[in-house]
C-alpha cells in the first residue's frame, strides 16, 4: 500500500498526487509519473514527429493506448465520396502505433469508441491512476477516482518519451451535491446549473471533487458527465472518490485486475477515498432537488437557464464585461432578451459525445422517443459513444426505436461535438446537443448550439423546438 504520510486527513487528489511525484525541485513544477497515456487521432501527429526529430522512442508501450474517435465520420453526412476510406489522420495514427508498438483501437475494432468512454469501459481507467490524454475532457476519467488531466501535443511527446509530465499541484475544491433529483433531471442538468451559477472560471486552478448524497447515489455513467464538464468550469481535473459503485463498475472489465489481485486492488482503491475531515481549499454546494432541466442560450456552457426560463436581458447585468459578452452571445445566437427558451426551433438534435453517449444516456432518450416521431423539419442524430455501447443498445433494440422515430443511428466517434470529422451543421442552423461546448463555430462555422441533457434533447427532437421533457410525463 502506498504511504500517504501521516498528519492531517487527505483528499483523494492529495493522495494520488503524493504517490506520483518523481522529482520536485523547489520553485519548479513537479515531475509527475503517468500510469496511463491515452492517445487519439485529433492531436497526436506532431508528438510523434517530435520523437523522431529527437531520436527518442516510446518509453512504455504497455502503458500507452490509442484510439480513433475525433476524426472518424459518423456517417450522418452520408457515405464519403472516397468510399469507406478513413481520413489521413486516422490512418496515420494506426500506422504510427503499429510502427511503435502501441496498442491502437481503429475504426474496425470492437473496442473502438470515444477515448473518454472506452478508457473506463475497458477497465484501463482505475482509481488512483494518473492519466493523461491530449484532450480537455480527460477530466471524465476522474469519475472512477483517477487523477486524469489534459495535455497539449508537446506534452504528449513528453509522456511518450519519458512517461512523465511537468505539473503544478492544483488547489482542491469540493462540490457537495445533496438532495434527490426530480424526474426529468439528470447529472447533465446539475453540471449546467452549477456552471450557470458559478461561471466558467470557478474551477480554474482547482482539482474538483464531487461528493454528497446525490453523487453517492449516482451511477458511474452519470458521474462521468459531471467530471467531463468540469473542464467547462475552467478546471482540468474532476474527481469522485472510489466507492462500492466504482468497484461494481470495474469488476470483470477487460483490463481490471482479477482474482486475488482484484481483492487487493479493491482494498487499495477504497483507501484512496477522501477522508472525512480532509480540508479543501474551496467548498461549493448544490441542492439537486432545486435543479430543473437546463438549456444554454449563449456561447459558453455557463450561459444556461432552466428550460422554463427566459433569455436574459444583458441590460440587467451589472458587470460591463459580462454584459458585453451576453450581448455578443445573443447576437451570435440571434436570440432576444425576454423570449422563452422553450419553443425555439431547432433543425438538428445531436445525442452523443463523451459527455452523454453512454448506455444510460441512450436509454433515457429512448424512453421518451419510444412510439413517438421526430418533428418534421428536424433531424435527430444519435451516435453511441463506443462500439460496445452501440452493440449493447442494439441488443436492447434501441437502434430500431431511434430509427422508427426517424433518427440517424451513427458510427461511434466524436461526431457533431467537434467539427473535425466532416460532421457539421450549416451556418445559422440551430442544433440542440448533448455535448459539452456551445462555443462559436464549435459545430461548424456560424452554427448555433443549445446544450442540454439526453432527455431534454429527445423532447426537443419530438417537438422540433426546445421542449421540457417533463411535459411528456404523466
Amino acid at each position: 500500500m502506498p504511504n500517504f504520510g501521516t498528519g492531517r486527513p487527505k483528499t483523494l487528489y492529495e493522495k494520488i498526487w503524493a504517490s506520483h511525484v518523481v522529482d520536485q525541485v523547489p520553485g519548479h513544477p513537479a515531475v509527475l509519473y503517468v500510469d496511463l497515456h491515452l492517445v487519439h487521432d485529433g492531436t497526436y501527429r506532431r508528438a510523434f514527429e517530435l520523437l523522431v526529430e529527437r531520436g527518442l522512442r516510446v518509453a512504455r508501450t504497455d502503458l500507452t493506448f490509442a484510439v480513433t474517435d475525433h476524426c472518424v465520420p459518423s456517417g450522418m453526412m452520408g457515405t464519403p465520396k472516397n468510399g469507406n476510406a478513413m481520413p489521413a489522420v486516422v490512418q496515420g495514427l494506426i500506422k504510427v502505433c503499429n510502427e511503435t508498438g502501441i496498442k491502437v483501437f481503429g475504426p474496425d475494432d470492437l473496442e473502438q469508441g470515444i477515448v473518454h468512454i472506452i478508457g473506463s469501459e475497458l477497465g484501463l481507467t482505475q482509481p488512483g491512476k494518473t492519466i493523461i490524454c491530449g484532450d480537455s475532457h480527460t477530466s471524465t476519467h476522474g469519475a472512477l477516482g483517477a487523477l486524469a488531466f489534459a495535455v497539449g501535443t508537446t506534452e504528449i511527446a513528453h509522456g511518450l518519451a519519458t512517461q512523465c509530465v511537468l505539473q503544478q499541484r492544483s488547489k482542491t475544491m469540493r462540490v457537495r451535491i445533496d438532495g434527490k433529483l426530480k424526474p426529468g433531471v439528470s447529472s447533465k442538468d446539475i453540471i449546467l446549473a452549477l456552471l450557470a451559477r458559478e461561471g466558467i472560471t470557478a474551477g480554474t486552478g482547482y482539482a474538483v471533487e464531487y461528493s454528497g448524497a446525490t453523487v453517492a447515489g449516482m451511477s458511474v455513467d452519470a458521474r462521468m458527465t459531471l467530471c467531463n464538464m468540469t473542464a467547462e468550469l475552467g478546471s482540468r481535473i474532476g474527481l469522485v472518490s472510489p466507492d462500492e459503485r466504482t468497484l461494481a463498475y470495474l469488476k470483470g472489465r477487460a483490463f481490471a485486475p482479477r482474482g486475488a489481485d482484484w481483492d487487493a486492488a479493491c482494498e487499495r482503491w477504497c483507501a484512496l477515498a477522501t477522508e472525512d475531515d480532509a480540508v479543501f481549499d474551496r467548498e461549493l454546494h448544490v441542492n439537486a432537488n432545486a435543479v430543473a432541466p437546463m438549456v444554454t442560450y449563449g456561447t459558453t456552457p455557463a450561459m444556461g437557464i432552466p428550460v422554463t426560463g427566459r433569455i436574459p436581458n444583458p441590460d440587467s447585468i451589472a458587470d460591463t464585461t459580462a454584459r458585453r459578452a451576453c450581448v455578443e452571445a445573443l447576437r451570435y445566437m440571434d436570440l432576444h432578451p425576454g423570449d422563452p427558451i422553450a419553443g425555439k426551433k431547432v433543425s438538428m438534435v445531436f445525442i452523443g459525445s463523451c459527455t452523454n453517449a453512454r448506455i444510460e444516456d441512450l436509454r433515457a432518450a429512448a424512453s421518451l422517443l419510444d412510439g413517438r416521431k421526430v418533428a418534421d423539419g428536424t433531424r435527430l442524430i444519435v451516435v453511441a459513444g463506443s462500439q460496445s455501447i452501440k452493440r449493447q443498445a442494439e441488443s436492447e433494440g434501441l437502434h430500431s426505436l431511434f430509427r422508427s422515430a426517424g433518427a440517424t443511428w451513427g458510427i461511434p466517434g466524436c461526431s457533431l461535438c467537434v467539427g473535425m470529422n466532416g460532421d457539421m451543421a450549416a451556418p445559422g442552423e440551430y442544433v440542440a446537443s448533448t455535448s459539452n461546448r456551445n462555443f462559436q463555430g464549435r459545430q461548424g462555422p456560424g452554427v448555433r448550439t443549445f446544450l442540454l441533457s439526453p432527455l431534454t434533447a429527445a423532447a426537443t427532437a419530438i417537438k422540433g423546438q426546445i421542449a421540457d421533457p417533463r411535459s411528456f410525463r404523466s
Binding site: V31, G42, D135, A325, M420, Q440
Partner: protein, 194 residues
C-alpha cells in the same frame, strides 16, 4: 516555431473579448493542417471570415507581434494548435490578466509568453493603448518586465522564474525531463504497483 524567447517590442493588437476559446483561435477543422502558412491562415479563421471589422483583418494590425487579450483567453479545448497558430501568425507574446491553464502551458512549448498583469496594470496598459493605438510595448523575460514606450510604466510579467528561464534559455521541458531519466527509472522500480 521559435526555440527560445528574446525580448520583443511591438505595437499591440487589442482583442479585449473575455473567454476567447481555442475553437475561435483555431477552428477544429484546421487543427491538423501542416506548415506555418496554413497555421497562420487558420488563426481566427471563422472570425476573420465572419467580419471585415475583426481586428486581425485591419491592415494596421499586420506585423504586430503582441496581442492584448481579454480574461480567460484560450479556454476550452486543449488543442496546442492554438498556440502554434498564434506563433505562426507572427505573435511573440500575449498580454492579459488570466489565461486558461492548458493554453498557457501549450504556449510555453512555443516560447510564446502569456504575460499575466494585475487587473490594475492591465487597465493602465489598455488605456495607454487606446490613447495611442500605435504605442509600442516591450516584453522582456530576462528583465521580467513589460515596459511601455516613452513612459516610466513597467509591470512584472507574472510568469514564474522556472518558466521564464526555460523560454529564455531555450532549454525545453523535454530536455528537463530527459535529464531525470535515471530518477524516473528508479521511481518505476521502487514504486508499489498500482
Amino acid at each position: 516555431m521559435p526555440k527560445k524567447f528574446s525580448a520583443v517590442t511591438s505595437k499591440l493588437v487589442p482583442l479585449l473579448i473575455p473567454n476567447v476559446d481555442t475553437d475561435q483561435i483555431i477552428p477544429a477543422q484546421y487543427v491538423n493542417v501542416s506548415g506555418e502558412d496554413a497555421l497562420a491562415g487558420a488563426l481566427f479563421a471563422n472570425r476573420k471570415a465572419e467580419s471585415a471589422d475583426f481586428v486581425l483583418n485591419l491592415p494596421e494590425m499586420k506585423d504586430r507581434a503582441i496581442m492584448l487579450c481579454g480574461a480567460n483567453f484560450g479556454c476550452g479545448s486543449s488543442r496546442e494548435a492554438a498556440a502554434w497558430a498564434l506563433a505562426a501568425g507572427g505573435f511573440r507574446a500575449v498580454i492579459g490578466t488570466t489565461f486558461h491553464e492548458t493554453f498557457a502551458r501549450n504556449c510555453v512549448q512555443s516560447c510564446l509568453p502569456t504575460v499575466r498583469l494585475t487587473a490594475d496594470a492591465f487597465d493602465v496598459l489598455v488605456a495607454a493603448h487606446y490613447s495611442n493605438p500605435d504605442l509600442e510595448v516591450r516584453v522582456d523575460l530576462e528583465a521580467r518586465n513589460v515596459t511601455v514606450q516613452d513612459s516610466d510604466l513597467s509591470f512584472p510579467t507574472g510568469i514564474d522564474d522556472f518558466t521564464a528561464d526555460l523560454m529564455v534559455s531555450g532549454i525545453d521541458e523535454l530536455t528537463y525531463l530527459l535529464e531525470r531519466k535515471n530518477m524516473i527509472a528508479k521511481f518505476e522500480l521502487d514504486r508499489v504497483s498500482l
